[in-house]
């Protein structure tokens, strides 16, 4: 027997809806078997997982809290991916954005919120953009592989933040923990009362809308798409490829920087070591699963947020974290497989 994939020439609406649903059901089924074999009550685990993510207003708000940085990081890398620039450095750019935002608070913490927050956001953008600029300029002028440089700069950024929170900015009242002092309330992002959902959700939606319009309806967006498909064609049409590479990396890094600012200002309320739960990396998966479509990125980020928060929910039930990770992996795996099924038909032919 042989399996072959044949490209589908038309994807119907039915398939577009049915395949993701079937993927998630299959993932649940596989997880079910796994849980049953490990001696856990599968139905109860799922119930708790679902409840953890969506079961109450609070739980939904927690899902959104996780979705915000994932969406922003996904949007950040998607800009670079449009031009086939593999910016793996969103994590580092996020840390630099958080660092800059924290720096603004350290220096101007007594300013009123209305000035302080925009200033933090601008600083976050600039710092992230600078961290994107380094691999961008290396790539544009000397053709240095941006995948490697942007990845390596992540470690630099994380260590840099570590240096400040362990050293100069260490809070004397933190009982030795590597934490910078808590921000004054003026530096907190406004939240929906009674939850941790902060205004970052609007920032993410706004960024998605702006990106959509810029990429589709501006000359520059058109240049980015053309350059992504063929640098030769872009050069032929007289586009400044080097300039666009640098610009794209600046914007990509800047959005990642805003993500970092939003995390410190909206969630941790201080600069600390582990601001990001790998958002910069997970954002890459989010962006690809959404096929770089800005609005789909928002949706996929929400799903990922649910997976994360639902996972926390079952841990209190005594299920080891490894199993939670496995369940998350199964959902991802089946979604990706479903993606292939959606684009192709499987033909089983019998070999004689």
């Amino acid at each position: 027997m042989r399996l072959r994939l044949v490209r589908r020439n038309n994807d119907s609406w039915l398939i577009k809806v049915a395949v993701p649903i079937a993927s998630i059901l299959l993932a649940i089924l596989v997880g079910w078997i796994f849980l049953a074999l490990s001696g856990y009550e599968a139905a109860e685990t799922y119930r708790r997982m679902f409840y953890g993510a969506f079961g109450s207003a609070y739980n939904i708000s927690e899902t959104i809290v996780k979705a915000i940085p994932l969406a922003l990081a996904g949007l950040a890398v998607s800009v670079a991916f449009r031009m086939k620039l593999w910016n793996i450095g969103a994590e580092g750019q996020l840390y630099m954005g958080a660092f800059a935002a924290g720096g603004v608070v350290m220096m101007l913490g007594d300013w009123p919120s209305i000035l302080l927050l925009p200033l933090m956001m601008v600083a976050g953008f600039i710092a992230g953009a600078l961290w994107g600029f380094i691999p961008g300029v290396l790539r544009a002028l000397w053709n240095v592989n941006e995948t490697i440089t942007s990845l390596l700069l992540n470690y630099v950024a994380i260590a840099w933040v570590g240096f400040w929170v362990f050293g100069p900015w260490k809070d004397p009242n933190a009982m030795g923990f590597p934490l910078a002092p808590r921000f004054p309330e003026a530096a907190y992002l406004p939240v929906i009362p009674g939850s941790r959902v902060h205004i970052g959700i609007l920032v993410a939606i706004l960024v998605a809308i702006v990106l959509y319009i810029v990429l589709k309806y501006t000359r520059w967006g058109y240049e980015v798409r053309v350059t992504g498909e063929s640098q030769e064609a872009a050069r032929y049409a007289g586009m400044d490829v080097a300039k666009n590479i640098i610009l794209v990396m600046l914007i990509s890094g800047g959005i990642a920087g805003i993500t970092g600012m939003i995390e410190v200002s909206g969630i941790t309320h201080r600069l600390q070591q582990d601001i990001s739960a790998g958002y910069g990396y997970t954002g890459i998966i989010v962006a690809w699963l959404a096929r770089l479509n800005p609005f789909a990125i928002l949706l996929v980020a929400f799903l990922f947020g649910a997976l994360l928060v639902g996972g926390f929910g079952v841990q209190t039930y005594g299920i080891p974290y490894a199993i939670v990770l496995m369940l998350q992996g199964a959902v991802l795996f089946f979604l990706l497989a479903g993606e292939i099924m959606m684009k192709n038909r499987v033909i089983i032919s019998r070999e004689d």
């Binding site: 490209r7 020439n9 319009i213 309806y217 501006t218 000359r219 058109y222 798409r225 053309v226 498909e229 063929s230 030769e232 064609a233 050069r235 032929y236 049409a237 007289g238 070999e351």
Partner: protein
């Protein structure tokens, strides 16, 4: 005389999404035969032969090799059945030697006696008149020599049916002669050769038997003695393409473009163009003749501003332009139809609209409130495809769906809408079928009568005589001569193209 066909394909059908590439095709090849498979681009030749080579599977139909039915599920199985195919793009490992390439993938143990293979390669190359050094690295060989290695590979594996997909495209005239000689030697020894082509003269010269495909169907097959060029053309295109003599009244005016002592580096840094001098006049077509890879690409890219120059000057209407960017040169009225239609001239995986707007997206009249005005760009695209007769199902479909002829018309139309004063086109009809090539040539001649100065890089000598007023022959980076077409002949241009170098090894 009733002989057993070595290959017999009966009732072959093959569909791809949206196309029936092969419809109920019957195809027979006999041992000792050079069988030409003729047809326009997209007629289904390559599909049919890829089925025979085990690359595709037919939707229905049977294949017999030497009388017994076979199922060719993979190229390996096809090879075992004695069928080998040589593609236009060679499947060779560049940093291995000839002998190593021949050995690669051959059945047998992991450890192989190198000297035995070399001996066998030598024997085969002598037997079939192919001069190749078994120790040479592929990267040091010319395309003609690489093709010989491909043939040797197939012979070494014991092929007795050899399919060659447009083998002469990359060859010099002398190499074509050598190849035909080899093909004849193979046929004389009872092997069968299938030649996929759309060049009539080759068919008349070498083939014993011809099968003509049109739109996936066999529209005729006969011994070559019973056919002539007109009959074949008629079968191929089902309409009489008139090989009319085109109007070539000389009317060239003032000098528009002047190149002096131009030296251009190649990608590897050596001088690909050396001290070239050229003058291009208003309303003339100047052809650049030369075997591909003698600096033509670098020359036109340097002229268009896509490649830095090392020395010399490029003046357009008396103004030095060698320091200007590509876009500035385009704005001055110099435009290039590049050799890489898809990838440079056109953007793959984007829609027809997005390709049509590649030049005018920057113009203010296609903007509204700072954003691109897609309604207007779409209207422009419609007018463009109307005027240049580009056949497009939907302007929002990716350009990848378009045939070569339609791609070229789209590209040409877009560039000509800029009203260029200088039009440079590299291999404008390469890979196009007869009708599309004719349409492109007509567009060129029309531009010329409008007074545009046109520089064409051409490979087909017939086209040079059909189109050009003057011809500049390039060899090894130098422009060897600039001749009036009416005062020269094919042989002298051919001789200049080959320089003093002996072809082959």
């Amino acid at each position: 005389m009733k002989r057993m066909p070595i290959i017999e394909m009966v009732g072959i059908n093959k569909s791809f999404p949206g196309v029936r590439a092969n419809k109920n095709i019957n195809f027979r090849v006999y041992p000792g035969e050079i069988h030409a498979l003729l047809g326009e681009n997209g007629a289904g030749k390559s599909t049919l032969m890829s089925i025979l080579a085990g690359l595709y599977r037919p939707d229905s139909g049977t294949i017999k090799v030497k009388g017994s039915p076979v199922r060719l599920r993979s190229p390996r199985l096809a090879l075992q059945a004695g069928i080998g195919m040589i593609y236009q793009h060679f499947r060779l490992v560049n940093n291995l030697t000839v002998a190593e390439n021949v050995m690669l993938g051959s059945p047998g143990r992991i450890r192989t006696r190198g000297d035995l293979i070399e001996k066998r390669v030598r024997e085969l190359s002598e037997k079939y008149g192919m001069a190749v050094n078994p120790h040479a690295r592929i990267s040091h060989l010319s395309l003609g020599e690489q093709q010989r290695v491909e043939i040797l590979k197939m012979l070494y594996r014991g092929c007795d049916t050899l399919i060659m997909d447009e083998p002469t495209t990359v060859l010099t005239p002398q190499e074509v002669k050598d190849l035909f000689n080899t093909m004849r030697l193979m046929a004389d020894r009872g092997k069968a050769v299938v030649l996929i082509t759309h060049k009539l003269n080759e068919v008349m010269e070498i083939a014993d038997y011809v099968t003509v495909l049109r739109r996936g169907e066999v529209v005729g097959s006969d011994h070559i003695e019973n056919l002539d060029e007109n009959a074949l053309t008629h079968m191929m295109v089902a309409r009489d393409v008139i090989f009319q003599e085109l109007n070539r009244a000389t009317q060239s005016g003032s000098t528009v473009l002047e190149i002096k002592d131009l030296t251009v580096p190649s990608d590897r840094g050596h001088a690909a163009v050396r001290k070239a001098n050229l003058e291009l006049h208003q309303g003339e077509i100047m052809a650049i003749a030369g075997v591909a890879g003698n600096g033509q690409r670098e020359l036109v890219e340097a002229m268009a501003g896509l490649r830095p120059i090392r020395a010399g000057s490029i003046r357009m209407q008396g103004k030095e332009i060698s320091h200007l960017s590509a876009r500035e040169r385009t704005a001055m009225g110099l435009t290039l139809i590049p050799e890489d239609r898809m990838g440079m001239g056109l953007v793959p995986n984007t829609s027809v609209v997005e390709n049509a707007m590649l030049r005018n997206y920057q113009f203010p009249e296609y903007r509204r409130g700072g954003l691109l005005n897609y309604a207007k760009l779409e209207a422009y695209t419609h007018s463009l495809i109307d005027r240049y007769q580009v056949v497009v199902a939907d302007i929002h479909h990716p350009v990848n769906y378009l045939s070569g002829g339609n791609l070229q018309k789209l590209l040409l139309g877009r560039e000509l809408d800029l009203n260029p004063k200088v039009l440079i086109a590299a291999y404008p009809v390469r890979g196009l079928d007869v009708a599309a090539a004719q349409a492109v040539n007509e567009i060129m001649l029309e531009e010329r009568s409008k007074g545009t100065a046109i520089l064409l890089v051409l490979e087909d000598l017939d086209d040079i005589f059909r189109l050009a007023d003057r011809v500049a022959v390039m060899y090894d980076g130098e422009i060897k001569a600039v001749l009036d077409v009416s005062e020269t002949d094919i042989d002298s241009i051919g001789a200049l193209m080959l320089g003093a170098q002996r072809v082959g090894v």
